[in-house]
């Protein structure tokens, strides 16, 4: 027991005295959560639109006003032939130059068709380069059209359609990304820190000393991992506080449940770090390359940014083997939905399983290396 404590203390000193690990532990997480918290947003807050009104009638002006009065829309007018040349062309140029996201085109017979036939069409040309934005732009346009129709139609309602959004009433994408950040940061810390520390031991040769020492392999591993668990948790708490008090993301669920799963997740990350650093044949390039190859799937395939449902089946299958996938569901559930333990039976089990497998693999690898040296 005392021997394990000795290792723990030594590790702490190493962490605090190595500038590399200090950066990883303090500077990187804070920088990340700041920049990512602000940089990641799919929200659409402003739609610049050009209006090409060939009709110039009361009705067309009413329609245009509906857009103008909506706070998201900012209208630009490519006039009806005043500046010479084709206003539609001019608007298309603006679209190409990304000065606007859409063009609203009202045909010349708009008013007549409405009064005579009771039905008229108008056109919207949306820049769909970014399909996600295009979808959202489309939503907003549809909404305005439906409102207009509702007002126009005096007799009753055709159909009733309501939408309600739970857990995130203002539909801010920061709610989605920031809890995910915490998962990403925890992974980064646990995986990178261990590989840094182990590679340093290898470089300085002190790992041989560890191998020869009377400590059992599992004692070494426990001693080595506990400090990192503590550091990672501290960082997790730091990040959580940032998310709560700076970004204003409310915490609805039990922090205890979160803590429990966080520890499991951190253990998985640490084991992964140990596995990588003991497996890499040539330390430098191979190790970092491998690290990037495991962190990247955790970022991309775990549902951190892109929903897993839309992935193709092969990638989806891979995502099921990544601890981050489960932890993300848990952390988002606990923080945003107030979910409880009973809601996470599957995810919790998978996390336990994955952590155990990784830890076992890491220990075995370590013992085997040790025996080889001895």
């Amino acid at each position: 027991m005392a021997r394990i404590k000795a290792i723990i203390v030594k590790e702490f000193f190493h962490i605090l005295r190595d500038p590399r690990s200090l950066i990883i532990v303090f500077i990187a997480p804070v920088t990340m959560i700041f920049i990512l918290g602000y940089a990641f947003s799919f929200d659409l807050n402003r739609i610049d639109a050009a209006v090409v009104d060939f009709s110039q009638s009361d009705f067309s002006r009413q329609l245009v006003n509906r857009f103008a009065n909506n706070r998201i829309f900012v209208l630009h007018f490519a006039g009806g032939g005043t500046s010479g040349g084709n206003p539609l062309r001019a608007a298309e140029e603006m679209l190409r130059k990304e000065k606007i996201k859409e063009i609203i085109v009202i045909p010349v017979d708009f008013s007549r068709r409405l009064t005579v036939h009771g039905q008229a069409d108008f056109g919207i040309i949306i820049d769909a380069s970014n399909s996600n934005t295009a979808n959202l732009v489309f939503q907003y346009n549809e909404m305005i059209v439906l409102e207009f129709i509702a007002e126009m139609k005096k007799a009753g309602q055709l159909f009733k359609l309501h939408t309600k959004i739970y857990f995130n009433p203002e539909a801010k994408s920061s709610f989605f990304f920031i809890p995910g950040q915490i998962a990403a940061i925890l992974l980064m810390i646990s995986a990178m820190l261990t590989s840094v520390s182990i590679s340093k031991e290898r470089e300085t040769g002190s790992i041989a000393l560890l191998f020869i020492s009377p400590l059992k392999s599992y004692e070494i591993i426990i001693g080595k991992t506990i400090p990192y668990i503590i550091v990672a948790l501290l960082d997790g708490v730091l990040t959580l506080m940032f998310s709560r008090f700076w970004f204003g993301i409310p915490i609805h669920g039990s922090l205890l449940v979160l803590l429990f799963f966080a520890i499991l997740y951190i253990i998985a990350g640490l084991s992964l770090g140990i596995l990588i650093s003991t497996t890499a044949p040539t330390q430098k390039a191979a190790m970092l390359a491998a690290q990037i190859l495991t962190m990247l799937p955790s970022y991309l395939l775990s549902g951190f940014i892109f929903p897993i449902d839309s992935l193709n089946p092969v990638l989806q299958a891979i995502s099921y083997a990544i601890p981050a996938t489960y932890f993300l569901r848990i952390i988002r559930g606990v923080i945003l939905k107030g979910s409880e333990l009973k809601h996470f039976l599957f995810e919790g089990l998978m996390l336990v399983l994955l952590s155990a497998i990784l830890l076992l693999a890491a220990s075995r690898k370590f013992s085997r290396q040790r025996k080889a040296v001895q």
């Binding site: 590399r20 990187a28 920049i35 940089a39 990641f40 947003s41 929200d43 807050n45 679209l95 190409r96 130059k97 409405l114 009771g118 039905q119 008229a120 069409d121 108008f122 919207i124 769909a128 380069s129 399909s131 996600n132 295009a134 979808n135 959202l136 489309f138 939503q139 549809e142 059209v145 055709l158 159909f159 009733k160 359609l161 939408t163 309600k164 959004i165 739970y166 857990f167 995130n168 801010k172 994408s173 709610f175 989605f176 590679s199 040539t282 430098k284 390039a285 390359a289 991309l300 395939l301 892109f306 929903p307 449902d309 839309s310 990638l315 945003l336 107030g338 979910s339 409880e340 809601h343």
Partner: protein, 367 residues
């Protein structure tokens, strides 16, 4: 030209390191293919639960429509009310649609059921878009139904999705990925090459030679730039043939932009090299910088929402300009007359970067 010996040596060294070979040729192709499939904001297979409390077959017809699209995956249909919150918390469905009998103001039964769409808003982006699609499906159904009886909505918007009518997010991400490949390779190759000399201890003999600081600088930068560009072309090829992304612009425009961009990135990487003492350190800084460049470039998410105090980082980020221009070239076929301003700014950044980097390099050499 004495320089060509240096360049030849660099290329030989790069090719003879097994890890480098992998990194240069295999990894990028893999990355592109994996990224291409992963980095997608397309909505597909969103799990839906349906509670059908309405009588009559209109609701069932709508449910069928929903089931038929690849956008949604109907997990269950029930005729009993359920505990919505519990399902959302468990996360088995992202959305629950409830059909009810609808009454108008005079308490008459309406032809079409009242539809309530409940969304799990955690992933707000998907929720909004999915909700929009639900709206669309239901509305279209009703319109078609009404259309057959001669009724119509008074106002219809005919929408054209310009430049990307299929609304595939890969069309947007693909060009971005090509830019990413160019960046990642150049940064890593350059950052490690100088450090490798330090570690091999061949740096001294190189410095003792008659090559000037500028020549050594170029000799280190050029091979990486070359390989980076070659890989970009490979990436382009993969992205166009495998993912079927349109390339509507002029390849020369792309080449020019890439050249200007690569200069900026190279200088930055050499700066990293100067300040790192081991290859590991260099790679770590390279990776971290790459991440920052990527996040603040509009690769994943639009940069419009980035608040002003971070805008400055975005505005000096060379990748941001590359992203914008490369997407324009691919999807809109824009020529230099459209993006010259961005190109100019990018050039400015490159020149500045080169100066800073060269200065530090010279200082580092005459320690």
């Amino acid at each position: 030209m004495r320089l060509r010996y240096l360049i030849k040596k660099e290329l030989i060294e790069m090719i003879r390191q097994k890890e480098m070979l992998f990194l240069i040729f295999v990894a990028p192709v893999l990355q592109i293919i994996v990224l291409g499939y992963v980095v997608s904001t397309d909505i597909r297979h969103v799990p839906v639960g349906i509670v059908n409390l309405a009588k009559g077959n209109k609701a069932e017809q709508i449910i069928q429509r929903i089931d038929q699209t690849p956008l949604f995956r109907v997990r269950w249909v029930t005729r009993q009310p359920v505990d919505y919150l519990s399902y959302f918390k468990k996360g088995t469905v992202k959305s629950i649609i409830i059909f009810r009998e609808a009454l108008d103001k005079k308490r008459n039964l309406l032809k079409y059921p009242e539809v309530q769409i409940l969304m799990d808003g955690v992933d707000s982006n998907t929720s909004l878009i999915a909700a929009g699609y639900f709206n669309g499906i239901i509305k279209n159904f009703i319109l078609n139904d009404m259309g057959r009886r001669g009724q119509q909505l008074p106002l219809q918007a005919k929408v054209v999705f310009r430049f990307n009518p299929e609304l595939r997010s890969i069309n947007f991400m693909g060009p971005g990925i090509v830019g990413f490949i160019l960046t990642i390779l150049t940064i890593f190759l350059t950052a490690t090459s100088l450090v490798r000399e330090k570690e091999q201890q061949t740096l001294d003999t190189l410095l003792m030679s008659r090559l000037s600081a500028l020549e050594i600088y170029i000799g280190k930068a050029l091979p990486s730039a070359l390989i980076g560009m070659v890989d970009m072309v490979i990436g382009l090829f993969v992205v166009v043939t495998w993912f079927g992304i349109p390339f509507r612009g002029n390849p020369l425009d792309l080449a020019l932009t890439a050249l200007v961009y690569v200069t900026a990135i190279l200088s930055y990487a050499l700066l990293i090299s100067v300040f790192s003492s081991t290859q590991q350190q260099a790679m770590f800084f390279a990776w971290f910088s790459l991440l920052m460049f990527l996040l603040l470039s509009g690769f994943f998410t639009p940069i419009e929402n980035i608040p002003s105090f971070l805008r400055i980082l975005v505005d000096i980020n060379p990748l941001r300009y590359l992203m914008k221009i490369i997407r324009e070239i691919f999807l809109k076929g824009n020529g230099i007359t459209y993006f010259w301003k961005d190109l100019l700014i990018l050039s400015g950044i490159s020149v500045t970067m080169v100066s800073i980097s060269l200065l530090n390099f010279k200082r580092f050499i005459s320690k």
